[in-house]
């Protein structure tokens, strides 16, 4: 069991933050992190770099939309496979063979918090443009690590 980690509250509650907060790096075998979603905030469509990804909703609701991998040519709107709303305490799992997904907090009144486990850990992934399937590699950063705010390093 993981001890409750207190995230610096006011800053992200009243602003609009999408923050990734690393809780445990499992001796290099996994990354465990808490994501905080402001109202209306969502992620890009992304893959999971050949890793297993578990997600549990700790607070609020998150909508998960699954997409097919785009064709090699990347020439048209990406195909939606399914969508669902995950409620508090629900879990979800995804890996690259299942597909790609977008996760969003669609509430305009409530923030959401989710717990993510990635094994093995990864810090780059691809994001996809829904209109064209065009992909773009990104590096993910942490807003905080082990309860300490991460000093911002510009990655360009």
């Amino acid at each position: 069991t993981i001890q409750t980690m207190e995230l610096s509250g006011t800053e992200w509650k009243e602003g609009r933050k999408y923050t990734r907060n690393l809780v445990d790096s499992g001796n290099g075998k996994f990354n465990l992190m808490i994501l905080c979603w402001g109202e209306g905030h969502g992620s890009s469509i992304h893959d999971h770099t050949d890793s297993h990804c578990f997600m549990k909703i700790l607070q609020g609701n998150l909508k998960e939309t699954l997409f097919e991998w785009p064709e090699k040519k990347m020439n048209g709107e990406m195909t939606k496979k399914s969508e669902r709303v995950l409620r508090e305490n629900q879990c979800a799992y995804i890996n690259d063979s299942i597909g790609l997904h977008r996760v969003e907090n669609i509430s305009h009144t409530e923030t959401a918090v989710s717990l993510h486990l990635y094994s093995p850990p990864f810090d780059t992934c691809n994001t996809f443009d829904q209109r064209t399937g065009h992909k773009h590699k990104v590096t993910m950063t942490f807003y905080s690590q082990f309860g300490e705010r991460t000093v911002c390093v510009s990655t360009g």
Binding site: G15, R16, E39, G40, G42, H108, T109, R131, T132
Partner: protein, 351 residues
């Protein structure tokens, strides 16, 4: 001092006791989201607010005049209630101490069909949320909230954005997602402090090219808009009127004129000249122009359709290195000033 009445499903008695123990004229923060109140609002509370409707306590319909006596209230959170009808906000709000002290107001998840005019008197407001209401528009007088840094209007029925919104000098976060917005006024590029602009799930087909001027923008969400991916050139072109042609000549040849030389209406007309964005042209236009969409690479990730207006079909976009013939339909990639401007954006959440 902070007075919080969170929406915990507490028994009525406890809530009333907490209220009388903590109520103070120095209250700075009042959180009232009684979605989960199980019984009628306790007597102590009703001295502060009048609840509309029955005794089930399902949500406030009006905020009472007791709010006006709080001398230094800083934060008021009243989301997920039934506010929105006339009288939701107490009369005299503009003259109350609240009008100067309030910094944060959250009215999300209510039933406001318009931004209540009284709200615009809260001149010290830094953060306003009206997400998840029933707004059809944004009043131009929103510019009166000149301290506003955070404005959340997502999840309404807004169809257009008034250019006056751009007059908010401190605005950093602007959320307009999940509305019915069809176009963005180019004046929005004047929001010099803007860090985050949320436009996803609207009805945008293109953006004004001026959006590249938002040099401090770090986040931009555009998914779920019918942005054109291919531009079909608009072949209709209304030739300019004689007045327009004369106006163009006056402007481009710098023909001197004084207000006494011309009727007031023509002086005003001449002041409305827009510059043709083609740097090789240097011309102006008034009402007669050609719309053209150019696709600009955004941070090397996406091609965004940016709309700009040229003075004639023969003019070419500044985004292409060579002038194009009027029959050409090529979509040029980012060049010169466009790509430089686009690279300033650090993170684009087109997703």
């Amino acid at each position: 001092m902070e007075l919080e009445l969170e929406s915990e499903p507490e028994p009525e008695a406890e809530l009333a006791a907490e209220l009388s123990a903590r109520r103070s004229a120095e209250a700075r923060r009042l959180v009232l989201s009684p979605r989960r109140l199980l019984g009628p609002l306790p007597a102590g509370l009703s001295q502060w607010f009048r609840a509309g409707g029955g005794t089930s306590g399902t949500g406030l319909a009006e905020m009472g005049t007791e709010l006006l006596s709080l001398p230094c209230l800083h934060t008021l959170l009243a989301k997920n209630n039934r506010l929105g009808g006339p009288g939701s906000l107490p009369k005299g709000l503009g003259q109350a101490p609240l009008a100067r002290s309030l910094r944060v107001l959250n009215l999300s998840g209510n039933r406001f069909a318009e931004v209540p005019p009284a709200l615009l008197r809260l001149r010290g407001l830094r953060s306003l949320s009206l997400g998840g209401n029933r707004l059809h528009g944004i009043p131009p007088d929103i510019q009166e909230l000149h301290s506003l840094e955070f404005l959340y209007l997502g999840g309404n029925f807004i169809t257009a954005i008034p250019p006056e919104l751009a007059k908010l000098p401190s605005l950093r976060y602007l959320v307009l997602c999940d509305n019915k917005i069809q176009s963005i006024p180019p004046q929005l590029a004047q929001l010099d402090s803007l860090r985050s602009l949320s436009l996803h799930n609207n009805l945008l087909t293109y953006l004004p090219r001026e959006i590249l001027n938002l040099v401090h923008l770090e986040e931009l969400s555009l998914r779920g808009n019918p942005l054109v991916v291919r531009f079909v050139r608009d072949l209709t072109y209304n030739p300019p009127s004689l007045q327009e042609l004369a106006g163009r000549t006056v402007k481009t040849r710098n023909v001197p004129y004084a207000p006494s030389d011309l009727p007031e209406s023509l002086v005003r007309y001449l002041s409305l000249a827009s510059n043709c964005p083609n740097p090789k042209c240097g011309g102006v236009y008034f009402d007669s122009c050609v719309r053209q969409i150019k696709f600009v690479d955004f941070c090397g990730k996406y091609r965004l359709p940016l709309m700009h207006y040229l003075c004639s079909p023969e003019c070419s976009s500044p985004f292409s290195s060579a002038s194009q013939s009027s029959t050409s339909q090529s979509e040029s990639d980012s060049e010169d000033e466009a790509s430089v401007a686009a690279h300033r954006m650090q993170k684009v959440l087109l997703g």
